[in-house]
């Protein structure tokens, strides 16, 4: 068939993100509907979204405290990205999966993963301490972008198995430069796998700004090259990140394949507690984003709608304090585990030499006493 003959499939125009990020709440917290992204939320949902964002921020600041107190080796804050994380994860169904990077404490919360358990990676007690299978929340993934392939593989499996299940894979703007997310998006599209690639574009990869990361018009435009739609959301508008995720998830669930979401947001904190952002970004840039605070904006909306009263605030406050207390209790001075457990989980069927090495370590431990 002559290459000139057939119309293009899929029609590229249907893949392009809208000119501007989807925004449902303006800067004054007023709601404006956007074609194609209807809101299906009840008042209780609005309150839940708020609750999760506030909890995420509190859990996050508690983690930073714990790091400052020497309780965690390092920690990667989500400050400023609450709406991006919560909106996306909230749109998932019970049976769905999340494959996170290392910055997704907000998504973890929404998915019911105990923040204290996740912190063990950063404390260094264990490499992880939650059950990914039971929580349907993958292990925090440090090698950038690699989890996107696991997400795709999981989604392919679910599809082959005829299961009603959608997978959300979070990664950062920097991750889009790596080969793995590229391969993941291509595989997902080829197999029509039910994955949503959720990029939190927080403008930086450690010190490297987006402008040095890519020349693409937007990250969402990268979807075109995989033949899947690219969506763009104001990442500091939780209703926008929710509505865009809703659409992408519904598509995936309906068997229409993967899509890419770019949530345009900003990392208000240092890259991690080990980082010094004053070396690469200006106070004025920070100030510009501060006024776009995702929680403040949503608060204005809730207040307008009469959904935020002191009782509810107090309730969240109480809950947040509970989280913080449990987190502290979990990691504060948590002793390292039994060093002999080091040999337990490497293999189901370990090689014989593990016995010798275990014995060596046991002898060393005895000598220490």
């Amino acid at each position: 068939m002559s290459p000139a003959a057939a119309p293009l499939e899929p029609d590229p125009m249907t893949l392009l993100p809208p000119e501007r990020p989807v925004q449902l709440l303006d800067d004054e917290g007023a709601l404006h509907e956007v074609d194609g992204f209807p809101l299906d939320l009840k008042d209780s949902d609005f309150r839940d979204l708020y609750r999760y964002m506030v909890l995420a921020r509190r859990v996050d600041s508690e983690a930073i405290n714990l790091q400052r107190q020497g309780q965690l080796g390092v920690y990667a804050s989500l400050l400023g990205q609450e709406a991006a994380q919560v909106g996306g994860a909230y749109a998932l169904a019970e049976q769905d999966w999340v494959f996170p990077s290392y910055r997704e404490m907000g998504a973890a919360l929404v998915r019911g993963v105990d923040p204290g358990s996740v912190l063990h990676l950063f404390r260094g007690t264990w490499l992880s301490n939650h059950d990914p299978i039971a929580t349907r929340f993958g292990l925090l993934s440090i090698p950038i972008g690699t989890q996107a392939l696991h997400a795709t593989g999981y989604a392919m499996a679910a599809k082959f198995d005829g299961k009603d299940l959608v997978v959300m894979s979070y990664f950062g703007d920097g991750a889009t430069s790596e080969g793995d997310p590229h391969e993941a998006m291509n595989f997902a599209a080829v197999y029509d796998a039910p994955v949503v690639f959720f990029v939190q574009n927080n403008q930086y990869a450690i010190s490297v700004p987006l402008s040095k990361q890519t020349k693409a018009p937007t990250i969402a435009h990268k979807a075109v090259g995989y033949g899947m739609p690219g969506f763009r959301a104001d990442g500091n508008d939780v209703l926008a990140t929710y509505a865009v995720s809703r659409r992408a998830i519904d598509r995936a669930r309906a068997g229409q394949g993967p899509s890419l979401i770019e949530a345009v947001t900003y990392r208000m904190e240092a890259h991690t507690t080990a980082d010094d952002p004053t070396r690469y970004r200006t106070a004025s840039e920070l100030a510009e984003w501060k006024v776009r605070d995702p929680i403040a904006r949503f608060e204005t909306f809730l207040e307008r709608e009469g959904l935020l009263d002191d009782a509810f605030r107090a309730e969240i406050d109480e809950e947040a304090r509970g989280y913080a207390t449990r987190m502290r209790a979990e990691v504060y001075d948590a002793p390292h585990g039994d060093p002999l457990e080091l040999f337990e989980h490497v293999y189901v069927e370990p090689p014989e030499r593990f016995d010798e090495q275990r014995a060596l370590l046991r002898a060393e431990l005895e000598r220490r006493e």
């Binding site: 299978i133 696991h150 490497v346 090689p351 014989e352």
Partner: protein, 323 residues
């Protein structure tokens, strides 16, 4: 019945897929084409294209999605088309496939087999004849297997697919056409067991994969010299059968380790160091190593000068006897 090593592998895949519908086979050209070596021949027509399928051209993608599928509960058996094309997947292999179970404190088990046709001797172009087994043997969390006979090819592949730990399965491509009288299905010794392929007293030759045959030939040729060589087929590099290796050296007092890979930093160093640690007083000579030179795999017309052969092996035996 005489079967080839390639047929044994194909049958093993077929039988594994037949007995467990969670076994899925994928990679580049493994579906419609049946693989460039036809190891996956007819699997797609027999089991359908959700059980055996072609992927886009991306090895990291293949291993990374295999990990996701294994987390779901499938048992992926994926192919890297040639040894030299395993490297794009290195991060997924080393940082995830090897480590996920440990990192998850045992909650995530990755039952994945990565098949790699490896080694030289078939006159191929660059990157199609490499022996990267040392990279994976040194990677904690993986198991590394390499059969040298058709029976072992069948049995070890079945065991690899059944194994709850991730397995890197090195297929000696120059031996795909090696024949053996065998009745499939066959089960040979399990992982972690080396096998004495030939008893002898003069010295022990250690080998795995493609070099097993070469060592048997060397042992046969050595008879002329009046040498009675023992040949030990290591079969699984990790787990490693230290006991059998040491017992052989205790008996013979001399050992030569043979592989195609470069000697420097190769797996032979581990075999030599390990045996020496445990059979020090039995050794009449240091364990010697025979392998490729410490250079990149050469052009096809020159591979005969690079690869260990009977002469190079017997020369090493001679040096061992000279100690």
């Amino acid at each position: 019945m005489a079967i080839t090593l390639a047929q044994a592998l194909n049958t093993a895949l077929h039988d594994a897929m037949e007995s467990d519908d969670r076994v899925v086979v994928f990679g580049e050209d493994v579906g419609t084409l049946g693989g460039v070596f036809r190891i996956t021949d007819k699997l797609q027509s027999r089991f359908g294209d959700q059980r055996c399928f072609d992927t886009p051209l991306a090895e990291s993608g293949i291993v990374g999605t295999a990990i996701g599928m294994a987390m779901y509960g499938y048992k992926p058996v994926v192919e890297m088309q040639f040894d030299g094309f395993t490297y794009p997947a290195f991060e997924q292999l080393v940082s995830h496939l090897a480590k996920m179970r440990n990192r998850s404190r045992g909650t995530v088990t990755l039952q994945v087999v990565v098949r790699i046709p490896y080694g030289g001797g078939i006159g191929a172009v660059e990157h199609h004849s490499e022996s990267p087994e040392a990279y994976f043997a040194h990677t904690a969390g993986l198991k590394v297997v390499s059969p040298g006979t058709p029976s072992d090819a069948y049995s070890l592949l079945r065991e690899a697919i059944d194994c709850p730990d991730p397995v890197i399965f090195f297929e000696p491509k120059r031996r795909y056409w090696l024949k053996e009288d065998a009745q499939l299905p066959v089960r040979t010794e399990p992982f972690g067991r080396a096998v004495v392929r030939r008893e002898g007293t003069t010295a022990t030759l250690f080998a795995y994969g493609p070099m097993v045959r070469t060592c048997m030939d060397a042992a046969a040729a050595a008879e002329e010299e009046g040498w009675d060589l023992e040949v030990v087929d290591l079969r699984t590099l990790n787990p490693f059968d230290t006991a059998t290796a040491v017992a052989s050296v205790v008996k013979t007092g001399r050992a030569v380790v043979v592989h195609e890979a470069c000697v420097f930093g190769g797996f032979g160093a581990e075999v030599a160091a390990r045996i020496t640690e445990r059979a020090f007083y039995s050794l009449e000579a240091p364990v010697l190593r025979v392998g490729g030179f410490d250079i990149p795999y050469p052009a096809a017309k020159l591979e005969e000068f690079f690869l260990p052969d009977v002469d190079r092996i017997l020369d090493a035996v001679d040096r061992s006897l000279g100690f």
